[in-house]
C-alpha cells in the first residue's frame, strides 16, 4: 500500500519557476502558502532565459507603455487580447522595479539606472524604429530572475515541497460549482503520495517543448500541469501557436538569445548574404521570431543553407568587439564554444530554429483565473506563466515578453489567489482522492508490454519536428495525428524496468510521456483546424491570414477518452479576441 499524506493550505502553487515563485511572494505573507515543484526551484527553466525582460522604463530612450502594447499586439499578429496586453505593458514598469528592489542585479547605465537594450519586434512609436526596451542582466536575465525570486522566497520563509510531482487535481462541487479541492503529488524521494488541499490553487508549471525533438526546453518541460487541466475536461486555448526560436544551436536546439542579434549579430546564408534584408527590409534581423524562423527555414529549403548538409544558416558576430561579446553575451558564446567548438569572435555560429515557447495553454482572464469556457471562471483556480494563456502573446510572442508575463501575471495570480482564499472555505475533499494517481502509477508500473518509453517519445518528437514545425499542411498534420494515435495505442503496452519506490525516474518519465502525447495531439489537432497562417502558425496550404474566419482564439475541449481515431475525443470551439485600440492590420516590418 502506498502511504498517503495529507496537507492543508490556503494557497497551493504548483510550479516554482518564475511565475510560481512570483505568485508565492504575493501570497506567502498573507496566507498559508505551499509551493509544490517537481524540480528544486532554482532548477526551473526560467533560469535558462537569457535576453531580457521588456518594460517601457524609458531609461535610455523615449518609450511608452502604449508603444509596448502596440508591439505586443502586432507581434502576436493581432490575436492578442488587448486588455491583457495593456495590463502587461502598463504593469511592466512596476514588475521590473519590484525585481530590482528584491535585489536583481540588472546591468546599469552610466548614471546607475537599469540599462536597456534592443530586442526583436520592440519599436518606438508604432513601428518607426527599434527601441531599447529590454531590461537585462548580461545574458543571464532569467537566471537572475529565478535566483532573485527564490532568494526572496527564502527571505519570506515560503514553504516548498521540492521534487514533488503533481499528477492530478481533485475537483469537487461547492454550491453547484466545480471547484478544485486539492492536488495530488508524488514524492520522488519516497514514492509516497501527498494530497495537498488548498482554497485556491495556482498552476505555474511552464511549457511542454519536449513534444518536439529540436527544442530549447528542458527535459523536464513535459507540460504536466496543462495535461492535468486537460484531463479534467477543462479547455486549452490557442494550442496551435507554438514559437520556434530562430537561433538554436544547429542540431542541438540550445538557445542563442535574440540578444545576439539585438547587439548587432547578423544572419547569413551559405553565400554570406544578409538574407533578412529580403524578408523584413526595415528591421531585418530583428524581425519577430516567426518571420525570422520561417525565413531561415526557407533559405535552407531553397538550397542556400550552410554546412555540409546545407541545413543551417549562420549567425555572424565576428564584426562585434570581443569586449562587447564578453560583457553582454558571455554565456551564449560559451555555449557555441562548448557544444559546437565554434569561436564566435572569429567564426559565424551555425544556427537553426528550435521549438521554444507555447503561446497557448490554460485559458485565463486578466485576474489569472482559469476559464472553463469562453467566459466562466473556475472559482479558486488560477494559472500563470508559460502554462497559461491570458493571451498576451497571441499568435507569436515577442522576445522578452515572457519573463514579463511570468512576473506580471504571476504576481496577479498570487494576489487574486489570496483574495479568494481569504473568503473561501476549504472545499471538502472527496473520498479516495488519491485513487486517480495510484491508478495512473499502477497502470504504468504493472504494464507488461514490450514498448519502451524512450522509443515512443523519440518517435513522437520526430513526427512533431517533421510535421508540425515551422511549416505545416493539412497532410502533415494528419500524419502527425495518425502517428500520435498509433503511439497512444503502443503507450498502452509500455513497460518500465525500475519497480522501486525511491527516486523512480523511470516511472515518471513514462507518466510524463502520457502528458506529452496528450498535448502533442491537441497541438496538432488545433493546428489542423486553424486553416490560415498567422504568427507562429504557418500553413503552406493556407498562406494568408484569414481575419474573417479566424480572428478568434481556439478553445480545445476533451470529450471522452481518446479512441485511437484521429482527433477523436477533441472538440474545437472558438473565442473572440478582445480588441480595444488596435484594429488588425497587415503585419509588416
Amino acid at each position: 500500500m502506498t502511504k498517503v499524506h495529507h496537507h492543508e493550505f490556503d494557497v497551493v502553487i504548483v510550479g516554482a519557476g518564475g511565475a510560481g515563485m512570483r505568485a508565492a511572494i504575493e501570497a506567502g505573507p498573507h496566507a498559508r502558502t505551499a509551493v509544490i515543484t517537481k524540480l528544486f526551484p532554482t532548477r526551473s527553466h526560467t533560469g535558462a532565459a537569457q535576453g531580457g525582460m521588456a518594460a517601457a522604463l524609458a531609461n535610455v530612450e523615449e518609450d511608452s507603455w502604449e508603444w509596448h502594447t502596440f508591439d505586443t499586439v502586432k507581434g502576436g499578429d493581432y490575436l492578442v487580447d488587448q486588455d491583457a496586453a495593456e495590463i502587461l505593458a502598463k504593469e511592466s514598469v512596476q514588475a521590473v522595479i519590484d525585481l530590482e528592489n528584491m535585489g536583481l542585479p540588472f546591468n546599469r547605465t552610466p548614471d546607475g539606472k537599469i540599462d536597456q537594450r534592443r530586442f526583436g519586434g520592440h519599436t518606438r512609436d508604432h513601428g518607426k524604429a527599434p527601441v531599447r526596451r529590454s531590461c537585462y542582466a548580461a545574458d543571464r536575465t532569467g537566471h537572475m530572475i529565478l535566483q532573485t525570486l527564490y532568494q526572496t522566497c527564502v527571505k519570506l520563509g515560503i514553504e516548498f515541497f521540492n521534487e514533488f510531482y503533481v499528477l492530478d487535481m481533485i475537483m469537487t462541487e461547492v454550491d453547484g460549482q466545480e471547484v478544485p479541492a486539492a492536488v495530488v503529488a508524488y514524492d520522488l524521494a519516497t514514492g509516497e503520495i501527498h494530497i495537498v488541499r488548498g482554497k485556491s490553487i495556482v498552476y505555474a508549471t511552464g511549457g511542454f517543448g519536449k513534444i518536439f525533438k529540436t527544442t530549447s526546453n528542458a527535459h523536464t518541460l513535459t507540460g504536466d500541469g496543462i495535461g492535468i487541466i486537460w484531463r479534467k475536461g477543462l479547455p486549452l486555448e490557442d494550442m496551435e501557436f507554438y514559437q520556434f526560436h530562430p537561433t538554436g544551436l544547429a542540431g542541438l536546439g540550445i538557445l542563442l538569445s535574440e540578444a545576439a542579434r539585438g547587439e548587432g549579430g547578423i544572419l547569413r546564408n551559405a553565400s554570406g548574404e544578409r538574407f533578412m534584408e529580403r524578408y523584413a527590409p526595415t528591421i531585418k534581423d530583428l524581425a519577430p521570431r516567426d518571420m525570422v524562423a520561417r525565413a531561415m527555414a526557407n533559405e535552407v529549403r531553397e538550397g542556400r543553407g550552410a554546412g555540409p548538409n546545407k541545413d543551417y544558416v549562420l549567425l555572424d558576430l565576428t564584426h562585434l568587439e570581443p569586449a562587447v561579446i564578453d560583457a553582454k553575451l558571455p554565456d551564449i558564446t560559451e555555449f557555441a564554444r562548448t557544444y559546437l567548438g565554434v569561436e564566435p569572435y572569429t567564426e559565424p555560429v551555425p544556427v537553426f530554429p528550435t521549438a521554444h515557447y507555447a503561446m497557448g495553454g490554460i485559458p485565463t482572464n486578466i485576474k489569472a483565473e482559469v476559464l472553463r469556457d469562453n467566459d466562466t471562471v473556475v472559482p479558486g483556480l488560477y494559472a500563470a506563466g508559460e502554462c497559461a494563456c491570458v493571451s498576451v502573446h497571441g499568435a507569436n510572442r515577442l522576445g522578452t515578453n515572457s519573463l514579463l508575463d511570468i512576473n506580471v501575471f504571476g504576481k496577479r495570480a498570487g494576489m487574486y489567489a489570496v483574495e479568494y482564499a481569504k473568503t473561501a472555505k476549504l472545499p471538502p475533499l472527496p473520498d479516495n482522492a488519491e485513487a486517480g494517481v495510484i491508478a495512473l502509477l499502477d497502470k504504468v508500473r504493472n504494464s507488461k508490454g514490450d514498448e519502451k518509453v524512450a522509443v515512443l517519445r523519440k518517435e513522437l518528437q520526430d513526427t512533431m519536428d517533421a510535421n508540425a514545425q515551422v511549416y505545416r499542411t493539412e497532410e502533415s498534420l494528419n500524419e502527425a495525428l495518425n502517428k500520435i494515435s498509433e503511439l497512444r495505442a503502443r503507450y498502452e503496452k509500455i513497460s518500465i524496468q525500475d519497480h522501486g519506490q525511491r527516486f523512480n525516474t523511470d516511472l515518471l518519465e513514462a507518466v510524463e510521456l502520457g502528458f506529452l502525447l496528450d498535448l502533442a495531439e491537441v497541438l496538432a489537432y488545433a493546428s489542423r483546424e486553424r486553416r490560415e497562417s498567422r504568427g507562429g502558425h504557418f500553413r503552406e496550404d493556407y498562406l494568408e491570414r484569414n481575419d474573417d474566419k479566424f480572428m478568434v482564439h481556439s478553445m480545445l475541449y476533451r470529450e471522452g477518452e481518446p479512441t485511437g481515431e484521429i482527433g477523436a475525443g477533441i472538440r474545437v470551439d472558438w473565442k473572440p479576441v478582445v480588441i480595444t485600440n488596435y484594429q488588425p492590420m497587415e503585419r509588416k516590418y
Binding site: H7, F161, D187, A189, T190, H194
Partner: protein, 149 residues
C-alpha cells in the same frame, strides 16, 4: 524521510566571539617570522661549518651563551609550537566527528604543547653551560676559562 519541507529561514542568534579568525591570522603572522627563524636556525646548525657533525653539548652551550641565540630559540619555540598546535588542532577537528573525542584530543594536544613550551623556555633560561660535575671535554671551551678563574 517523509515530507521534505524545507526549514524556513530563522534569524540567527549572535554568537560569542570566536577565536577562529585569530587562529587563522596567527598562522599567517607566525609563518613568515618562522621562515626567518627556522631557516636561519637550520642554516646555522646544518649548512654552515661542520653541519650536523658539529652539534653536541658544547655547540649548544656555545650558542646559548649569547642571549641573542637564547631569545632566538625561545621565540622560535613559542611561535612554532603554538603554530604547530593550532595546525594540529585544525587537523584533529577535520578528522574527528565525535565531539567528545575531539575535545579530548585537542585538550591533550594543548596540554602537551603547553608543557613543552614551559619546559623548553625553562631549559633555555636556566641552562648552565658549564655544569661543574661534567667531563670538561664535553663542555664549551670558555668553561675552562670560567673554571680556572
Amino acid at each position: 524521510m517523509s515530507v521534505q519541507i524545507e526549514i524556513p529561514n530563522s534569524p540567527r542568534k549572535q554568537r560569542v566571539t570566536n577565536w577562529e579568525k585569530y587562529g587563522w591570522l596567527y598562522m599567517r603572522i607566525s609563518g613568515p617570522l618562522l621562515i626567518v627563524l627556522i631557516f636561519t636556525h637550520v642554516f646555522v646548525n646544518l649548512f654552515t661549518g661542520e653541519g650536523i657533525k658539529q652539534i653536541d653539548f658544547a655547540f649548544v652551550a656555545g650558542k646559548w651563551a649569547d642571549p641573542f641565540w637564547q631569545w632566538w630559540d625561545v621565540a622560535m619555540l613559542w611561535l612554532a609550537l603554538i603554530h604547530g598546535t593550532l595546525g594540529m588542532r585544525t587537523v584533529i577537528n577535520d578528522y574527528t566527528e565525535k565531539p567528545k573525542l575531539r575535545t579530548a584530543l585537542v585538550g591533550t594536544l594543548w596540554s602537551v604543547s603547553g608543557a613543552l613550551i614551559l619546559l623548553g623556555t625553562l631549559v633555555v633560561f636556566t641552562f648552565d653551560p658549564c655544569p661543574p660535575t661534567s667531563n670538561p671535554d664535553l663542555l664549551p671551551s670558555f668553561c675552562e676559562a670560567i673554571a680556572s678563574s
